[in-house]
Symmetry: C2
Subunit: 217 residues, 2 copies
């Protein structure tokens, strides 16, 4: 009995310098030498798909502190020209700014790309990213996923800009603050961010570290 081989590809993302960014690796193996791709690898026989995603990211970047969730199965027959491989795509959020980049046998480079300046990519990885972008807009609106993108403490303006970057539109400052405070997913730490010229901003933190489903906007 023959079955497709199972793999996973992971969309690791973050917001850096006011841009939504994705982590890509540069392949140095056939069949797509020199093309960029999502980090991905095979799933072992006795391994959970989620664990496989964690393992792959750890191997690619030594990062293990992240939130991962399943996205969708990508299974076009010819998505991999060499073999019949079905991929379970995941999305992962990295908080830390510093990720120690590694390269190994299969990767010659690893880097962050803005979603509106993506390079030519291997396999169907562009499809995966497009699918994830749609899902992301929805998730940011209806869950506390946005908070997973923030550092431990953050200002309301910083949080608002995350929404604006993901949703690609401006939001009203007063309405935004009202809704977020009313939804009880963040709390005032009492501290102020006092490292700038303008008036110090209150620092907030997420009340719950886990992802919750809440209608935020």
């Amino acid at each position: 009995m023959e079955s497709p081989i199972l793999a996973t590809d992971v969309v690791v993302f973050n917001i850096r310098k006011w841009k939504l960014k994705v982590l890509l690796i540069k392949m140095n193996k056939e069949p797509f030498v020199w093309l960029w791709a999502l980090p991905g690898w095979f799933i072992w026989e006795k391994e959970l798909c989620l664990d496989a995603a964690h393992r792959i990211l750890y191997e690619a970047s030594s990062v293990s502190d992240l939130y991962i969730e399943q996205l969708k199965v990508f299974d076009a027959i010819d998505r991999d020209p060499k073999a019949r491989i079905v991929s379970i795509a995941h999305m992962a959020i990295i908080k830390k700014d510093d990720l120690s980049i590694k390269t190994n046998d299969s990767y010659s480079d690893i880097a962050w790309f803005s979603v509106d300046e993506l390079p030519v990519m291997a396999y169907d990885h562009l499809d995966i990213i497009k699918y994830w972008l749609e899902r992301l807009e929805w998730k940011v609106t209806y869950s506390t996923l946005s908070l997973s993108l923030m550092p431990e403490k953050f200002t309301l303006s910083e949080l608002q800009s995350v929404f604006e970057i993901v949703l690609k539109k401006d939001l009203d400052k007063r309405n935004f603050r009202k809704k977020l405070l009313k939804s009880w997913v963040i709390e005032d730490t009492g501290e102020k961010k006092t490292i700038g010229i303008p008036r110090p901003a209150s620092l907030f933190r997420a009340i719950n570290k886990d992802l919750e489903f809440v209608d935020l906007l």
Copy 2:
């Protein structure tokens, strides 16, 4: 290199006699002889997951005219006691009332069950059904999935009862009609349903056969 074996299990559903029903098959093979289960089988190497779902349903019930979509991957390590099998769960809508039931080597029986009177089930199929029920509530509210459950022509009251069954709550008749007519997903055929004692009801039809995302309720 070892990879899990890929399979798919399909939640085939419908509304019959004012109940939300799922199609289950009775296994006559190890490891769950005499238990009920979702129709499911392995995915062949050169086959799309969606095609596999269609094939399985055709083999189980000779039905091919249905809408199928991917649900989620179920991959608990011990979900199958005999082998490492990862299942890509799908949901499928059958419209026709008459499905010619078949049994074969692996199935000794096939039948519809109400979702609130489910039998003891094999594998993690109860988890799959529970997950699907959550998703279904959402899909009915935010897409035209409900229309796929209707025959070619239907009355507004019939459509309303589909919502009420899936959402497990009563809806206001006037508000329901206003919202549905305002969302431009159905149109009046001009015909009337004249087979009863009460006043004849207008028959509507779906404007678009494909699934659309619309906020209906």
